[in-house]
Amino acid sequence: MKRLFKFLTPPKQWLLPAIILMGAMTGLTLYGLVESKAISYLSDDPKACANCHVMTPQYTTWQNSSHREWATCTDCHIPQGSFVEKYMAKAQDGFFHSAVFMMRSEPEVIQMRAERDITVQNNCIRCHKDQVTDAKKASLSEDHIKNATTKNCWECHREVPHGRVNSLSSVKYYGRIDGEQQETVPQWLEKYLNNSENKNNK
């Protein structure tokens, strides 16, 4: 029980919003779990993060980035150490994000918190260690190794993966995120195809 409590306790900086929310917690939890698809939050599916519209700019920019086929949100934003570490971070984020979201207090321009930087930085390094340290690759950029240990990678690689323009209103249309409205084959067309001969002429 003590451990569970500790598990749910957010770090210091979050104490204020956490306390304010405590009262509403009980009633809101159930609602919140269902509404925000909190269950899916525990998966690595980027759609889980994009359940919130405020994550849409990040989702769409990631979706159009060089990393789409290689790294999902959690690959970068969640520590990839032990299982415990991983889910601890998810639970904390989930708690924090849904709190802010429901309070309608999200800022126009979301910014990554400094203490999350290190998580992301470590993840860049996790995948790119070889490239960043390989002798051959060193010739790509002067003092790459030195720079990469003194700066955040994305200070140079500014387009990775969200690009430079990150405001909430930079991306307008949300129909693009897959969900319940998937209609790959529209109904009006299906009705003709069901009795189509050409469907099964083998």
Binding site: E69, M102, G163, R176, Q182, V185, L189, N198
Partner: protein, 465 residues
């Protein structure tokens, strides 16, 4: 829940788009950035080494094409594709669609409209698939007027990507695949696969005889060999070559099939990644609907993934294209030779039995050539496969010419059959016996008489939406 709905549609008032509305301008009111960029496909100024946004007259550039397609519509007129907004105009203007004078007239079926307009899904929804395919091209002249657009690829409610092409869904079904299981990223290529694929008109579907039913020949797979086997099985013949009498196949833009065999396709890079990259304008991000050669937009397309110089990336593309073009042009000439040699054999009294293998060789050799020639992006999308296909095409064609050489000597012919004088399109068309002035005349008449009527009728009809 309100908060969630707001989340989904926060900035998108979608109330005024009707189901399957074919008018791009109407969608454009809601989505000005996408519409404006779409409309930039009107721009015809860009040209790269091998492709162009303008109408390059391929028959002028490669007069051999005229001979290879002797007896078929493509020998009359064939140009490089332009941007999507030109689709209807180009279909009106091509000599291939002839000069219909009424609604039951002209060389082409209704089916030709299929990949040119969002009026097609609208019509299919209204009158059904069979009725849509039925009849002459001219029968739907006043119905199909809006160039390729939003309703071809989007659901008007959710703006999600959607497949409106029956032939694509059916092709998946016949392969036992379920297109509704496609991922979002696959959809970013499948919307293109609605049109940028090899096709034929199947006219022997039981109960639908005489209807030119649009069909993708993928039942046994979609490699060059798979499709050839399919056509051989169903004994499909697109046309009989007027010089050699060979039972020919025509390949048309197998872009999607070829793309899948290249490294980008294998790595999950979608058509939209290169041809519709994400773009930032005035602090807004959106999908660039100016579908065009990515070489006119390296920064937003290639350089998302590749950090090389623009010039180096362009050179990579040209290097691949050069290597493929060299052998393709070689094969063109061999095929011209083979057709005229076959004609010479007939002229000298060859029998069907003597010609049988030769004609099949011409069919298979030219199919390989056309598979490469008709996919304008293929030499970049999957260069290794294009090289393989050309190697096979050269081999089959030359093996056929060995048979021809022997048969010619058996028939008493001495020396080489001279290469025809086809330095220009006009010379080549004369050589195959095309009366171009008659074709041009009937087209002019159509444009002066029938076409304005179609447009007027359409205007009246659309005013009532």
């Amino acid at each position: 829940t309100e908060r969630k709905m707001e989340a989904k549609y926060a900035y998108t008032p979608l109330n005024n788009i009707k189901k399957l509305d074919p008018r791009n301008e109407v969608w454009g009111e809601n989505f000005p950035r996408e519409f404006e960029s779409y409309y930039r496909t009107a721009d015809t100024t860009f040209s790269s080494k091998y492709n162009s946004a303008s109408k390059v007259d391929y028959l002028e550039k490669y007069p051999e094409f005229v001979v290879l397609w002797a007896g078929y519509g493509f020998s009359k007129d064939y140009n490089s594709g332009r941007g999507h907004v030109h689709a209807i105009d180009d279909l009106h203007n091509t000599l291939r669609t002839g000069g219909p004078t009424g609604s039951e007239d002209g060389p082409m079926p209704s089916t030709c409209w299929t990949c040119k307009s969002p009026d097609v899904p609208r019509l299919i929804n209204d009158i059904g698939v069979d009725a849509y395919y039925k009849g002459k091209w001219s029968s739907k002249g006043s119905q199909v007027v809006n160039p390729i657009g939003c309703a071809n690829c989007h659901n008007e409610k959710s703006m999600k990507l959607t497949i409106t092409q029956p032939a694509l869904i059916e092709a998946f079904q016949r392969q036992g695949k379920d297109i509704t299981k496609a991922t979002h990223n696959e959809m970013r290529s499948l919307v293109c696969a609605q049109c940028h694929v090899e096709y034929y008109f199947k006219s022997d579907i039981p109960g639908k005889e005489g209807i030119a039913y649009l069909t993708f020949p993928w039942d046994g797979g979609d490699t060059m060999e798979d499709m050839e086997k399919y056509y051989d099985n169903v004994k499909h013949v697109d046309w009989v070559h007027s010089l050699s009498k060979a039972p020919m196949l025509k390949s048309q833009h197998p872009d999607y099939e070829i793309y899948k065999m290249g490294i980008h396709g294998k790595r999950g890079v979608s058509c939209a990644d290169c041809h519709m990259p994400y773009k930032t304008e005035g602090g807004q991000k959106f999908t660039d609907h100016h579908i065009q050669s990515p070489l006119n937009n390296i920064a937003n397309s290639c350089q998302v993934c590749h950090k090389q110089d623009k010039d180096e990336l362009i050179k990579n593309v040209f290097d691949n294209q050069d290597k493929i073009a060299a052998n393709r042009q070689e094969l063109e000439k061999l095929l011209v030779r083979a057709h005229v040699e076959a004609k010479k054999c007939w002229d000298l009294g060859a029998t069907e039995a003597q010609m049988k293998d030769i004609l099949q060789g011409l069919r298979l050799g030219q199919w390989r050539w056309d598979f490469v020639a008709s996919s304008h992006g293929g030499s970049f999308h999957a260069p290794v496969e294009m090289g393989r296909v050309l190697g096979k095409g050269i081999n089959i064609t030359q093996e056929t010419r060995i048979k021809l050489a022997k048969l010619l000597m058996t028939l008493g012919h001495k020396g080489d059959v001279p290469y025809p004088a086809i330095e220009t399109k006009a010379a080549a068309q004369k050589f195959i016996g095309l009366d171009m002035s008659a074709l041009k005349e009937e087209k002019e008449k159509f444009k002066k008489e029938l076409l304005p009527k179609w447009k007027a009728e359409a205007k009246a009809r659309e005013a009532k939406y």
